[in-house]
Each structure stands twice: as structure tokens, then as C-alpha cells.
Symmetry: C2
Subunit: 364 residues, 2 copies
Amino acid sequence: MSSNPSSTVHIDLGDRSYDILIGGGLFDSLESYAAVPRSATALIVTNTTVGPLYAAQLHAALSQRHREVLEVHLPDGEEYKDWQTLNRIFDALLGHGCDRKTVLYALGGGVIGDMTGFAAACYMRGVPFVQVPTTLLAQVDSSVGGKTAVNHPLGKNMIGAFYQPQVVVCDLDTLETLPERELSAGLAEVIKYAPIADAALLDWLEAHIDALLARDRAALTHAIRRSCEIKAQVVGADEREAGLRAILNFGHTFGHAIEAGLGYGEWLHGEAVGCGMVMAADLSARLGLIDAATAQRLTRLIERAKLPVVGPALGADRYIELMRLDKKSEAGEIRFVVIEQLGRAGVRPAPDALVREVIAAHTG
Amino acid sequence: MSSNPSSTVHIDLGDRSYDILIGGGLFDSLESYAAVPRSATALIVTNTTVGPLYAAQLHAALSQRHREVLEVHLPDGEEYKDWQTLNRIFDALLGHGCDRKTVLYALGGGVIGDMTGFAAACYMRGVPFVQVPTTLLAQVDSSVGGKTAVNHPLGKNMIGAFYQPQVVVCDLDTLETLPERELSAGLAEVIKYAPIADAALLDWLEAHIDALLARDRAALTHAIRRSCEIKAQVVGADEREAGLRAILNFGHTFGHAIEAGLGYGEWLHGEAVGCGMVMAADLSARLGLIDAATAQRLTRLIERAKLPVVGPALGADRYIELMRLDKKSEAGEIRFVVIEQLGRAGVRPAPDALVREVIAAHTG
């Protein structure tokens, strides 16, 4: 569609290294897939929203690399991120006699990326896969880290694997069709990187939030690139999520409780994270780590990104019950990601009373 | 119960190294689990056959290491090696709020080991697990290699992961209650190692097959140890199953076709492999790699181990259709593990006509 500011972030993981390509006109260009094995068969996994928009173009491009290109169109939505839907991918693979060299292409948002990656991790104990994230959230969040998963009725992303793609193709063209609400949800994960890792990014975001909402390509490229770089830095130090990596879950402990409490699909993941960050920033302030003005500054940016800053009234007991199921919990103790100073985060428990104050102040 | 010949095989996989302990009186001894993290919670996964025999003893031992020890008893049989049964493990873990440090203990045969290992690989993207294999087959086959999986209606072990245990405890006491038919099935996997990797083991097996059937502990210890050593050697050279490791599937291409063709659970896995080895040896002879007498010698040993040497009459077309789904297949071409000379195996395709001759000669 256009020649735009474009960028490559290299993720260095030894023999599992890969590139993240960021720019316009990428997803249907053969060059983008140069690093992918030329297997006989490929399977495009997409959903019923994204598929009609982009699957034909991707299919045409991949037909020049793979003898047989198959497609499976899954229902759209977090509520389908389950075993049953995952099995439709396996059914397609086995129904077509796909062998262990088959390449899976994830064309869609985070749900498609997570499920396709997990299917690739498990099919015949591992086949190659490619991420073509079509939402801003997926571009900044799923591009780095190798996290794949499905949900369980009792918890989000409880069943999954760490598994790396061959390449990630972040095409800005696909953001043109993204609903505004989803654009904002993606910005939540971009904003997240400022308080936990890069104070300067907070200044930049305050100056460019309107450009980002207007889908300015230079601004988007910078935001995606910077998010991927920061995430890569954090993950590189801690691939298997033993410690440091947990700071990437800033806003997610409260956020997951919101998502689980309302039922998945009610709020977008990014919306829950946006509101969760407001709560986590306030908790950091109440713990005396940052001043109230800093928490307020972050809240204001989240609001300007058109994200919710007031959580649903689930009641403090329910919030706490749900947060105890969080993967960071240890022996029933909830561990929160907090801002230790602007640009640096840590993980720690918090007094129950303080957590209840935060919930009371930001729900209703 | 007794102090017996005991043995340890160390599996060297860098930071995923572990020991295989072989002997009597091991599974309910705390010392066996010295290498396992002392987490707050542990889950014993067993089945309704093995659980009543050994779960209480294991539970009592583990209660000294973990504050809370849970149990889940799954239905027994290959036909339950599926998503649905796997989910019962996740239900138990999530229903009890188990965190990512929870240790899973697989107490049972290969099905329990494969499912528990896969559940451990996937639960919160990976928790530690321990193998306590209670069948000879599981002791020699699941102890090394990190293969975990569940079946799919269209193929065996199609969904899984490579995932290593903390320790494998092969207790000869648990073989005392093993039905004769399952003892023979286990011997099939022991016999397998002779033609593919160790000609001297074939002599030893011919001399000790009756002692093994009589559950002589010295003979069993040697057979389990030697099997694990050979498997470790092969797997060590090829952890992710790129090439060499495929020779461990000697007899399995025909064997899986028998299992899938009859429906899982009709024949035991080891029985199918036993008969599959007869067919694969004959194929090797027809390809001119070994003489007919060598194939005959192997067939005779398999027969003495009380394993079937004649396959079900599924028809050659059905055998070939099923074998094409084998994970070793590439772009629809079946690849067979063949004996290149006694003690050395290779993987190659074979002319259709020859495969049909083999099927005709050994089914009915």
C-alpha cells in the first residue's frame, strides 16, 4: 500500500533467534517470509473477522512458498480461546495429513497468535510457526516472549507453552481496519512499558498519544519498535519467567481479575490492563514507592488513550479471590507488580488492607 | 520390601539433567525424591488400577516433603489418553489453586506418564514433574527422551511436548503386580534395542528371556538399565528427534498401524510393537539389508517373550493409509526404520510392493 517508516527488531535467542518486521506492505510480501522453512504444506490460522479481510492476500503470497496452503477460520473472541477451538486446528492438520514440517501462520490478534503458537508447540511435539499479528495489542505484546496458551474455565492462559516463532510480521496496513476500541486496548500495553522500564517513553507518549490514536505511521512504528525492544530486553534476561519477566505483568494482576470477574470478552484485555495499571500505580503510591502525582500522571495518559480508569464493582473479596489464582501467586499469596520509581518495577506482596483501599478507590 | 540389585542411570541434558533410579523399595522412600523441589503442593496423577495398589504409600512419603498432597485417579487405558482426561488433571490443579511451583508425580504406566508429563509441560507453561513408572514398558520407554503426549482421534501421540522429569523412579516392587501380558509388552521395547543398537544384547536376551518372564530382579535391573542407557545415547545425540532418534521407532510404524487399525486398547502398545518388529525385520531382509535367518532369530525371541508375531488382517491398503499418518512420514512418503545390520538401524522409504509383501506374509 505504501512505503513507510519500517524497522526490524532482532530477537537474539541463540538457535531460536528471529526478527520482528515492522512497516507497511509486509504481510503479503514474499520477502517477509524468507527465514521460514519452505515446507510442502502450510496452514493459515485466522478468525472470521480478520480472515475475510486478509487471508486471501496472505494465501496468494504463501502459495509461492508452499505447495499446499490450507486455511482454518476460527470464531472470533477471547471466549473461544479454549481447548475446543484449539482442537479445530489439530483437526485441520490431521484431517489433511499434515506432517511435522508443516508451517503454521497465525493471522489475527492475540487470541489467534496464542492459540496458533500453542498448536504449533504441541502438534507432533513441535512444528514451525509464523506470527502475523493484525492488532496493535498483538504486535506489541505477542511479538516477543514466546508465550502461547489457551484459557481454562478457572483461569486465563493457564494451559500453554513457551515457543518461539520463525518471524513476526507487524504490518501497519492491517491496523487500518482495527476498531478504535482495539487500538486503545493496544496502546495500554505500549503505555505499560513507560512506568516499568523507560521514563523517557512516558514523555514521548504524552506528546504523541493523539498521533497514535490518529494511526500516524511514524508514531506507530516507534511505539511498536520501542515496546518490542523493551520487552526483548526484559525477556532476554529471563526467558522462562523466573523473576524479572514478571514486571511485564504490570497492571495484569488487577486486569486479569477484571476480565475473569466479568467473564472473558466483556472488556478487552487491553482495557482491563489499562484500568489495572491505574490500580497498580495507586497501590505503588500507597506503598510509598512513588508519589501520588506520578500515579495521577499515568492515570491521565491512560484516560487520554480512551481506556477505562474505573473497574467494575465486583467487590474486594471477589477481586482478591480471583487475584490469588494469578500465576505470580505463591502458596496463596498474591504478588503485585509495582512501580518502584518511574521507569523501574518490582514484584512484591501487599497488605490486604491496602489492596482493599485501592479496589475501593477505583471501582464502582 | 527387599534390598536388591539397584542402579542409577544419569541422563545428561545440561540444566535439565536427571537420574533414573532402578531397584526395589524405591518409590515410597523419601531419598528417591531428594532432587525434587520442596514445593507447598504436589499432585499425584494415577489411574484406577495402580492407584489403589500404590498411591497411599507414595502419598505418605510425599507428605513429608509437601505440605499438601493431592491425588487424581484417572480411568485406566490407552483409550483415555485424550484431551478430556488430560483436562481432569488441569481441573484438579486449578480447582485446588495450585501454583506454578506445584510438583506433579506420575504414578502408573506409559499413559499416565505421557499425560502427566504433558500436563506438567503445559500447566502455567511448565511445572516440575516426577515419573514413577509402574510397568516395565514405561520403565524402559518413558524414562528417557522427554516425550509427552495425548492421542487425537486421527492419530496416536499427535499432540504433545518434549519435557524432562526431575527424576525417574523405576521400582521393581511395582512390577510384582504387573499382569503377564503387560510384562511381555514391556519386553518388546527391551528387545527393540538389540537389533537397532546392540548385537550383544540379543545374545543376552536369548539367554535370559525366561528369567525376565519369571521377574528375576537381577535380570530385570540389567534389562532396564541397558535399555535406558542405549536410549539415552541415541536421544543425547538428537534431543528434538531430527534424525537419529527415529531409529527408536523400530517396529512402531507397523505397530501404530495395528493399534490405530484395531482401535486403541485392543492390543497393548508393546504387543503391536512386537509384531511390528517382526514386520520391520522382514522388510529389512526383503530390502537385502540382513539375511532371512537374522529376521527369523528376532521373530523367535519375540515369540518366546509371549508376544504376537502375526498382525490383524486389516488389508494392505489400510495399513499403508494408517502408516502414512506416521510422524516420520514426509510429504506423504512413509519412512521405515530398518535394520541395516544387526545392532545398527536406519530410516528409509521402501517400495510399495515390498511393503505389501511384508503385510501379506505377517497378517491373517
